[in-house]
């Protein structure tokens, strides 16, 4: 009985926080839009009994999913999101790896401070930080003012409301998710491994490429998924920094829900997004499991 209770806790958690919301969204995605509150039909009416249940199910259909394939906006938004998420993951890795490497090689007494500095931005609201990037990147923003004063540029850079601004925003926001797993992989590494590689004839670079890089692989994979998965459905950054020119599925989803009030189509978009995300999530889990097995 106690064992059952112990196992039940995570399953209950999943049921309440994942499965039930998912079933609700799935149900809405199979419904039709209506001028009502809530804005879709059919509604489940238990008072009608068995007959009511039957008519309820007969009214559900896949029409919204079919609609998604007819309008190019949706698959373009999915593709564009995948591209932006993939590219910003690579960019975050390029920025995050040296940061993590530097932290892991820093003197032991400095490491907690450096770790703190990486985590510290989380103590401020995410929205405020994205808004401050608007202040930095806009045409009359801090960045342009400084660059113009120094004389590096003669015309202000147009970064705001472009994909570049979205990349900057995503890299900035998700950098800690990349840095922390890579740092923890590098920190565990025995430094004499590098000396051994050099002793056996490796140059500094070869030692890094043949020893450090493969040993931080699990951290890199974990970090990439931790950035890629949330970046794919990102809504706030593209809508605040990307302007109307940036097409991302998170923004489309928001507009379907709140501007068009077409809950069924919006739910269909969300269900497809979830299906796309399941693939990297499963790969991520498998990587974690493999890493645990290799250690144990």
């Amino acid at each position: 009985m106690r064992r059952f209770a112990l196992i039940a806790v995570p399953y209950l958690w999943l049921l309440v926080l994942f499965l039930v919301p998912f079933v609700i969204v799935l149900k809405i995605s199979l419904s039709d839009v209506a001028l009502a509150r809530p804005p879709y039909t059919p509604q489940l009416d238990f008072s009608a009994g068995w007959e009511g249940l039957k008519t309820f199910f007969s009214e559900l259909d896949f029409e919204n999913f079919v609609f998604l394939t007819t309008d190019s906006l949706y698959w373009k938004a999915y593709l564009s999101s995948l591209k932006i998420a993939a590219l910003s993951t690579v960019l975050t890795l390029l920025v995050g790896y040296p940061v993590a490497y530097g932290m892991a090689r820093a003197a032991t007494e400095w490491r907690p401070t450096l770790l703190m500095l990486v985590i510290l931005p989380f103590w401020t609201s995410f929205l405020i930080r994205v808004y401050s990037w608007m202040g930095i990147l806009s045409t009359e923003g801090v960045l342009n003012t400084v660059l113009l004063k120094i004389g590096i540029i003669s015309d202000p850079l147009m970064i705001m409301n472009t994909p570049t601004a979205v990349y900057i925003g995503i890299v900035y926001t998700y950098l800690p998710f990349m840095v922390l797993p890579i740092y923890s992989a590098l920190e565990k590494m025995d430094e004499s491994l590098i000396e051994a590689a050099e002793d056996l004839g490796c140059s500094r670079f070869a030692a890094f490429w043949l020893v450090t890089w493969p040993l931080s692989k699990n951290g890199i994979i974990a970090g990439c998924f931790l950035v890629f998965i949330p970046a794919l459905g990102e809504f706030v950054i593209p809508s605040l920094l990307g302007g109307s020119g940036t097409l991302m599925i998170g923004k489309v989803l928001f507009e379907e829900f709140f501007s068009n009030r077409d809950w069924p189509v919006a739910s269909a978009v969300a269900v497809i997004l979830l299906l796309i995300l399941i693939i990297p999530i499963i790969l991520f889990q498998r990587n974690e499991q493999k890493a645990r097995e290799a250690e144990g």
Partner: protein
């Protein structure tokens, strides 16, 4: 069959493989190695022995190229290697932690250094197989380091560092992580492999038994200086200082004033105790402070007063039974404790000496060592 004794250090025509010439290493204000000169010859199994912090690991890391030299130079095979980076030195090192690459198999670990030399594949494979055979690891070639035992890991580390056939192999506390029994077996294995490959080995250890077992010569170090460099028997039987005598093995040291008496010295060391007679090649002035160091196994223990040199009367206060021998702590009238060891050659469980026994201890004038400090 007559065998020539291996002792190139006694031959003035021999050129040493490694020469430390007035080498100094400073870390900030701290001097780890202090103007040290040392020659190590080809095919030697040379041990650097000392307590932690004596500079022995620093010496080894300077040979490997991981530490720069503050002053002086290191010559390897006639070439000054002070400025040569570690990956260009004909020197390999076996690390204390073994430093096996966890993501590579045993085979790939051993091949790692060979692959950096751009040899052809067949030559690499042949060399790896040879190393696997030498260290009896053929069966484990495909495993990863975490899938084998500590002793096997130690052999992989050895095979990997020997694979490139270095002129010089450095071993940093190579057996420190093994348990006592395995350590003893591995010591003999190390000696075998050293003989088979003809490589010069330099081993760093704080374990005096290990150094005595494997080494052709031992350098005893203290605070960045060499205290004595000699063969194990010389280090043990003719230590040049109280420090060396105390560092290797068990010893009783008595301090007193030395006086010449015929062809031996007499050490007047305590009121009411007879002076200790000790033969010595040293020349001490009359009344100079000297020390007599005597190993417990050289001290005899008797029930009745023997007619001999250096006879002292005391009482047994402690007995350490080790199976093959017993150590007795004999307290003299003035409180001084003399350690004596007897072999238990008979299977008689009744001991001939027991606690509180009044006994006589003695040693001949050739058994004690006279030291100046």
């Amino acid at each position: 069959m007559a065998q020539t004794v291996f002792a190139p250090w006694t031959d003035p025509d021999q050129k040493p493989l490694i020469e430390f010439r007035n080498v100094t290493k400073r870390f900030g204000d701290f001097t780890a190695i202090d103007t040290l000169s040392l020659d190590i010859y080809e095919r030697e199994f040379f041990a650097l022995l000392g307590p932690s912090g004596c500079g022995k690991t620093t010496m080894m890391r300077m040979l490997a190229g991981f530490e720069t030299i503050s002053d002086g130079e290191i010559i390897l095979g006639g070439q000054n290697i002070s400025a040569v980076p570690p990956n260009k030195r004909p020197v390999n090192m076996m690390f204390q932690s073994y430093a096996l690459f966890p993501h590579l198999s045993i085979w790939e670990n051993i091949a790692f250094g060979l692959k950096r030399e751009s040899r052809d594949k067949d030559a690499i494979a042949a060399r790896v197989e040879e190393m696997l055979r030498l260290t009896r690891l053929t069966k484990f070639a495909k495993r990863k380091p975490h899938q084998i035992s500590g002793g096997q890991r130690q052999r992989v580390a050895l095979a990997r560092s020997l694979a490139k056939a270095p002129k010089l192999l450095l071993l940093d506390e190579p057996l420190g992580a093994l348990d006592k029994k395995l350590r003893e077996e591995t010591q003999f294995e190390l000696m075998d492999i050293q003989e088979k490959t003809g490589t010069t080995f330099v081993i760093v250890t704080h374990d005096q038994e290990e150094a005595m077992t494997v080494a052709s010569r031992i350098a005893v170090m203290d605070e960045g200086r060499l205290v004595q460099v000699a063969t194990p028997p010389v280090i043990y039987e003719q230590p040049n200082s109280v420090y060396v005598a105390g560092f290797l093995g068990d010893v009783t040291v008595l301090e007193g004033k030395a006086r010449k008496a015929g062809d031996v010295y007499e050490l007047h060391w305590a009121e009411g105790q007879p002076p200790l007679r000790c033969a010595s090649p040293l020349v001490l002035s009359e009344g100079q402070t000297g020390y007599v160091a005597v190993r417990p196994e050289k001290v005899e223990i008797h029930h009745n007063k023997p007619e001999d040199d250096n006879v002292l009367r005391g009482k047994v206060i402690d007995i350490g039974y080790l199976g093959n021998l017993s150590t007795y702590h004999v307290e003299l009238g003035n409180g001084q404790i003399i350690k004596a060891q007897n072999f238990n050659t008979e299977r008689d469980t009744r001991r001939s000496f027991t606690w509180e026994d009044e006994v006589w201890v003695n040693w001949t004038d050739r058994c004690g060592v006279l030291l100046e400090g």
